[in-house]
């Protein structure tokens, strides 16, 4: 380890012998850190991705607060930095966001477009290293260990170059966090947003974390934070004062995890195969629905959507879940574990239908969702000895999938689906039918 602080010019990526002034490009935008040449785990996160894409495509809104989200009843999917100054945050209900920022330009999400650009960005990342672990459409971990000789650049230089190229080619800014493990890399990418590049090294990470509250660490939610606080643990420094065994005894597995992360110990590898846990689809209604038949029609649409996604990814799930949100924002999930993993919309629907029947007892709901989890490779479509037509319905679904692949998604639909669509087309703001999924 050398004690000499290495610096790079953020404009032309060349090493800077005498920061802050770049002799090569005359820039005055240095990136320096004593450990920068030893760090190779990065987190790259697009800044307000959906909103940035919309601004890129429509320069007239470039200097206005922009919120991307669905309908009046939907939630904020992304808010540009200008909107954030008014207090708008992603996942905030739209009506709250508009209260905070009445002048905001609201744009319905164009998932296709974002997915396409996200895909391009991911491919650019993959030119740096095969070890790219996507966390979502617009962020990923990269492990650049051992790529220095290959690229003739240090990991930090490679990342600066990536950042520059994404801005040039895609037209959006990204923020980079560079460190020696995933936890710190993710933490770092948040420090210098937007268009930032932050570095956390072994020497400064511990100090940096010291006075942060416990919920700074991911996975520590309000409930866990409360029970920690009861035990007198408020900051990360408090966690460090405890023995690991003590944390383990009191808080179990998550206590031990917290103890390790508080010392910035994170041994998780950058895993390029994303560990997808579930496949699901959900929708927020424009007006609350209580009618069981109407709910079932909507459920069918969601089951088709879930099944389409599962089929596209060639996975099946053994646990089938129904999600409902009541008028009073109470979330209800009901799940069934089946004997074999399933993929067919028909099977998912027939598993969830009785669960929905039980919940739709006159209550009104604002959100409905369907999903599968405990995923594995599909086993094949199973019939049901006690439901003699199930096997044939499965064959019919596969056949109509083929027709839909050839002639478009609407080539073959169930009558139930038409009814659900007609009902929802009375509500022009619904985002349900017009959001085609990317089948990558």
């Amino acid at each position: 380890m050398s004690d000499i602080t290495v610096s790079y010019c953020r404009d032309c990526i060349s090493p800077l012998p005498e920061p802050p002034h770049c002799l090569k490009c005359d820039g005055r935008n240095p990136l320096s850190h004593p450990e920068i040449s030893q760090l190779s785990i990065a987190h790259v996160d697009c800044d307000a991705f959906y909103a940035s894409i919309e601004k890129r495509d429509n320069p007239s809104i470039a200097h206005k607060p922009v919120i991307v989200g669905g309908g009046t009843r939907g939630v904020v999917s992304a808010a540009c930095y200008m909107a954030r100054m008014y207090g708008v945050r992603s996942a905030m209900p739209m009506f709250k966001a508009l209260k905070a920022c009445p002048d905001a330009v609201v744009i319905k999400p164009h998932m296709n477009k974002y997915a396409e650009d996200g895909y391009k960005i991911r491919n650019m990342m993959k030119t740096l290293t095969p070890l790219v672990e996507p966390l979502s459409i617009d962020e990923a971990f990269l492990d650049l260990t051992g790529t220095e000789r290959l690229h003739g650049r240090s990991p930090a230089q490679s990342l600066l170059k990536l950042q520059k190229e994404i801005l040039q080619d895609i037209g959006v800014t990204v923020s980079v966090g560079l460190s020696y493990n995933k936890f710190l890399a993710k933490t770092a990418s948040d420090l210098d947003k937007p268009h930032g590049f932050a570095v956390l090294g072994r020497a400064d990470a511990l100090d940096f974390l010291k006075n942060k509250p416990v919920d700074f660490i991911f996975g520590v939610g309000p409930a866990f934070a409360r029970s920690l606080s009861k035990a007198g643990i408020h900051s990360i420094a408090d966690v460090r004062k405890r023995e690991d065994s003590d944390m383990m005894k009191r808080f179990g597995e998550s206590g031990l995890r917290l103890a390790r992360l508080s010392r910035a110990e994170d041994t998780r590898r950058v895993n390029p195969v994303s560990d997808r846990k579930s496949v699901s689809a959900e929708t927020t209604f424009n007006t609350d629905i209580g009618d069981p038949d109407l709910l079932k029609d909507r459920l069918w649409l969601l089951c088709v959507k879930t099944a389409d996604r599962a089929k596209a990814k060639d996975i099946a799930g053994r646990v089938v879940t129904l999600k409902l949100k009541t008028r009073s924002f109470e979330t209800i999930t009901r799940r069934r574990t089946l004997a074999q993993p399933v993929q067919l919309a028909d099977t998912i629907f027939h598993t969830l239908e009785p669960l929905l029947d039980k919940e739709a007892n006159g209550r009104k709901f604002r959100l409905l969702g369907a999903g599968i989890s405990d995923l594995s490779a599909p086993l094949g479509d199973s019939g049901d000895l006690l439901d003699p037509t199930a096997f044939k319905r499965g064959i019919a679904e596969r056949a109509s999938d083929k027709a839909r692949a050839k002639f478009g998604k609407d080539a073959v639909v169930k009558g139930r689906e038409l009814r659900a669509r007609r009902k929802s087309s009375n509500n022009p703001k619904t985002i349900l039918p017009e959001k085609p999924e990317r089948n990558s």
């Binding site: 094949g380 199973s382 000895l385 096997f391």
Partner: protein, 367 residues
Amino acid sequence: MKIAIERADLLKALGHVQSVVERRNTIPILSNVLMSAQDGKLHFVATDLDIEISESTSASVDAPGDITAPAHTLYDIARKLPDGAQVSLKINNEERLDVDAGRAHFTLPLLPSGDFPKMTADGFTHEFDMSAADLRRLIDKTKFAISTEETRYYLNGIYVHAHDGVLRAVATDGHRLALSETALPNGAAGLPGVIIPRKTVAEVRRLIDSSDGDVTISVSDAKIRFTLGDAVLTSKLIDGTFPDYERVIPRNNDRELVIDNKVFADAVDRVATISAEKSRSIKLSLSQDSLSLVVNNPESGNAHEDLMVDYGDEPIEIGFNAKYLLDVAGQIEGRDATFMLDGPASPALVRDSEDKDSLFVLMPLRV
């Protein structure tokens, strides 16, 4: 209460009742076993509110009385005491239970025996005796097919009923069905169909595991009782209608495949190795007297194995869940298993060359 009892007697009696006690209980007294000492007998009762098991054993009773003590703890103590130990149980001045054996001493907390829930059981309309061996057989042949899925709760048990001079047990989860029958015991004629819950099936099976005597079975609308010597197990029945399973059993499958069961099971197990998934599908390709077992997994690779079989019908390809094939193969006693097939989308009927009283139905997979 103050009694002395042989460790072996205590262990056997507790062993019979403790397994019904759930490891986690929201109602504390359900973690306890009720012990009543009277007239040279110690009587044990444990329950989970759905099943109640009781057992009696002889003990020297110095002072009669009723107590409830933690069932699993007491059982574990009995288990760890040396063979031949004399155990003394008595309530001490602090209303706790002193357990003494040799130089080992334990003190256990007690809960009031008056709070212990008793299961009411009367109005039994049918009662008959059958050999423990026959009951074991009915259970063993069918219990693997019991469903665990909660929506169709009426499949979460074994359906037992009198049928044309036989006592028949059926279980299905919609993917496979198992049926086994035995000569109708005296007194069982007209027995209405009852669905015995999965946990009850497991408890009864444990109770009769090594017994060669007779079991008395009593049935009412809502409950069933098994009596074996001093042990009595009473359970609620599943309140539901078992589907018309007869319709599910294929009658017209005319393509007959006869296989050496052991050779077949070993080969299925071998080719299924290829897939790391929990559940694996396997394709059976039949033509003439050759059977190919094929597993294709895009990620973990492919495997196939060819077997000589007795077939000779039209070529057919049919997929199954490998685990379900192995479950059924595990029930076959004879050398040969006979598969009656129809087509790749129709259920297969499997019979045992040795056991004419059992049959199995398997739903294929469309791979």
